[in-house]
Symmetry: C2
Subunit: 455 residues, 2 copies
């Protein structure tokens, strides 16, 4: 058993690189091909251009294509340019079509057509079709490399057929049963097939209650169904015809991608998670955000400016600005997070807006009351003169602010969706700004009213 | 093909409930068992206590156990109390041991022992062992229901053995090869087995470079390995002996759970995502947080109080408090999010602290400069008198604040880990508070120095 911990892994990589540098073809192949393909990719990524050029000579196009399909898309785009002329066709033909679609989809039109022209006609045709599906739909992430069988076959026949088709298919663990019109009529798992008598007809053992998605289904819905039913693959149909499957490994990526998208929107930083870019590029990506924040900051400053007279008369009102803003911002973001996650987890069968709003408003009231009580105890200790009034002002403002903030946080994503607005309007900084402004207005308006009692 | 969209699903559920209410045993069974087990669970959960009692009569213990194992743990705890006496043993024996461990692990010691005493001795023994592993480790989430084979078998032998074992095993898609000492020596996928000649020896076809985890491995590491290598299952070893496997469906849950944990920590709301609790319970869960925030707000207020004289002399300094706080809070949280996500995604092989800090500091500098330029243009337009000085004060404060905030945001999670502190100290509200306080101190300190030029 080859045990690779971080240290031996580094040692092992060094040996492989040494073999390349010494031009020791045999040793390189022996060491390299003893690795899992995913680890081969790690090693390959750590090579210099010159070393990679050696590798292209040491392994053939078919062997390389196993590595190429596992590479990240950025690396694929980089390396394909440096491949030997003879490699390209083999590499492209060999790639699973869902990965190929991801890769080609990012290229400029001309480059894409150039690579498509190098491929087998039939393969290319399939890929061109897949490229037409809208991004983030089932059609765009599915593969056409599935195993379809007929319901009239016997278990024995199917097992023999699988012997041949197993290497090319994306998965053989679910076998989809289609009729003569290519309509999906049933499903059999390989596990059931293995356990069944050899002369059993597929017809008699297949499940006919099939979960499936349409090519236009959102990838989030695909992920939800696969997670709910613990499927390893899910069939995709168009006009009832089986046109592809989506496998669990692709869905794992979708789940992570979608969660990070939600995440980035709430902390308000697109491009926050891309770690391979320089400070300068990252800053440039975040700059529009921070300038927007600056503008929002000015708006809040403007509100404070409006109440300059009030503030001038009782300067210590300024001390509670952070408290009002923090409470408004934090509870609003929490409510927002609850709603955004419930969209992601529950999909179309989600909890009703009314139920969530009621619950969040209730939370606002209870939290507000708790805070008000705490303030009534602490503030008079801090400000012996007029402290009770001050605590009253801050306390009442806080109750109102929390109620408003939870409702705004919960409502905006629903509204944005209803109005078909960019979901980014529901992102953290926007909601925080709305809530801060409302909170400050509530606070200073109440303070202005009660000022006479304070001084 | 039974096509269940939301509407027909509701209709279908109604029919099942009607069958129960009419005491139509036959119709109930026909409708109910045509559903996927996961959908049976949905229907079952929508029944009243009285209806459930009918169901217990209509289906036997073995059939019910299929439903029971799919239930959420809260529901399991509720329903098991109302099961007919004869059901309990069958239901518990039938449950996959990893699910049983999740269920029993949450019960009080006495109740747990009571249920264990009802089970088959052998099964109970296995479960007791599993219960001893620490939470969130590979040992705690693994199942012992795997298929182990010997390397001396032929493909034909293994296929015949699988015919019998397929129904009981958690997965048969990977077959783990062990030697006489039960040590893990190889792995064969069912796909390779299907494609191989029947008389081939396992020895000749098994992969010997095996990825595996120890029982004590963190579940996050398990998820990372399975995602990286696209595995459907991963073996768990203790002292080189194969003791269990972890399947992809359990890992999907782990991925979501871990991401939500990270998420909840950054928005600062444990219990935020549990939707089935009332406003009051949710508020009670969040109350310690909000009271802590209140306290933090007082600290920030205290800082402003310290600079009361400065503020009194030039009241409009208050207008930029939100801007300083927002910028500090937002950039700090972004840096924090980057680091927390990189912990989750990269695991032990993570980017070095120095590299991340350097990058984040760089981002702080660039963003600060951009903001300062924007301020130098806007502020003099807003405040014709002394606007340039004011812009200078705010601008310089902002550059310093952003640099400090990014570094604090990136550093605290590293520090917390190094010092083995509760990772909650690295959560959003704490970091925002530190950054707000630092930002306010920087701002007012600079303003106090330059006050003479302002008025």
């Amino acid at each position: 058993m080859v045990r690779l911990n971080a240290q031996t892994r580094e040692e092992y990589t060094k040996q492989i690189i040494q073999a390349i540098d010494m031009q020791n073809l045999e040793q390189f192949r022996e060491l390299f091909f003893d690795l899992h393909p995913t680890d081969q990719v790690d090693v390959f990524n750590s090579l210099t251009k010159k070393q990679r050029d050696m590798v292209y000579q040491y392994i053939d196009a078919n062997e390389f294509s196993e590595i190429f399909e596992e590479l990240e898309i950025e690396k694929q785009t980089q390396y394909i340019e440096e491949l030997p002329e003879t490699y390209t066709t083999d590499v492209l033909n060999h790639m699973p079509d869902d990965d190929l679609v991801d890769f080609l989809g990012l290229l400029p039109e001309e480059t894409k057509d150039f690579y498509l022209s190098k491929m087998d006609k039939e393969e290319a045709q399939e890929v061109i079709q897949l490229l037409e599906y809208e991004e983030q739909t089932a059609g765009a992430i599915m593969t056409t490399e599935f195993v379809a069988i007929s319901s009239t076959e016997t278990v024995q026949n199917v097992l023999e057929m699988l012997r041949k088709e197993a290497p090319a298919a994306e998965t053989i663990y679910y076998l989809y049963v289609v009729n003569k019109q290519e309509k999906l009529v049933g499903v059999v798992s390989l596990r059931e097939l293995i356990a069944a008598p050899l002369n059993e007809k597929i017809d008699n053992m297949m499940l006919t209650r099939i979960k499936y998605v349409e090519t236009s289904s959102d990838q989030e819905d695909v992920a939800r169904i696969m997670k709910k039913y613990d499927f390893l693959a899910l069939p995709v149909v168009a006009a009832e015809k089986l046109v592809g499957i989506i496998t669990i490994d692709d869905i794992m990526d979708v789940v992570e991608e979608e969660t990070e998208e939600d995440f980035a929107e709430i902390v308000g930083g697109k491009g926050t998670f891309d770690e391979n870019i320089s400070s300068f590029s990252a800053a440039r990506k975040r700059a529009p955000w921070i300038v927007l924040l600056l503008f929002f900051g000015m708006v809040k400053g403007g509100i404070i400016g409006v109440f300059e007279d009030t503030l001038e008369q009782y300067i210590m009102l300024a001390a509670f600005i952070p408290l009002i803003m923090d409470s408004a911002g934090n509870t609003g973001t929490q409510a927002l997070a609850v709603v955004v996650r419930s969209f992601a987890v529950e999909g179309k069968q989600r909890t009703s807006i009314r139920k969530i709003m009621k619950r969040e408003f209730g939370i606002g009231v209870v939290l507000g009351l708790i805070c008000a009580v705490a303030l009534l105890i602490i503030v008079p200790l801090m400000f012996p003169e007029g402290g009770l009034i001050l605590a009253g002002i801050v306390g009442v403002s806080l109750i109102l602010t929390l109620c408003v903030a939870t409702v705004v946080g919960a409502m905006v994503p629903f509204l944005a969706e209803k109005l078909k607005l960019d979901p980014a309007v529901a992102s953290g900084p926007f909601i925080t700004t709305i809530n801060d402004v409302l909170g400050l207005v509530i606070y200073f308006a109440i303070a202005t009213r009660l000022l006479d009692y304070l001084i």
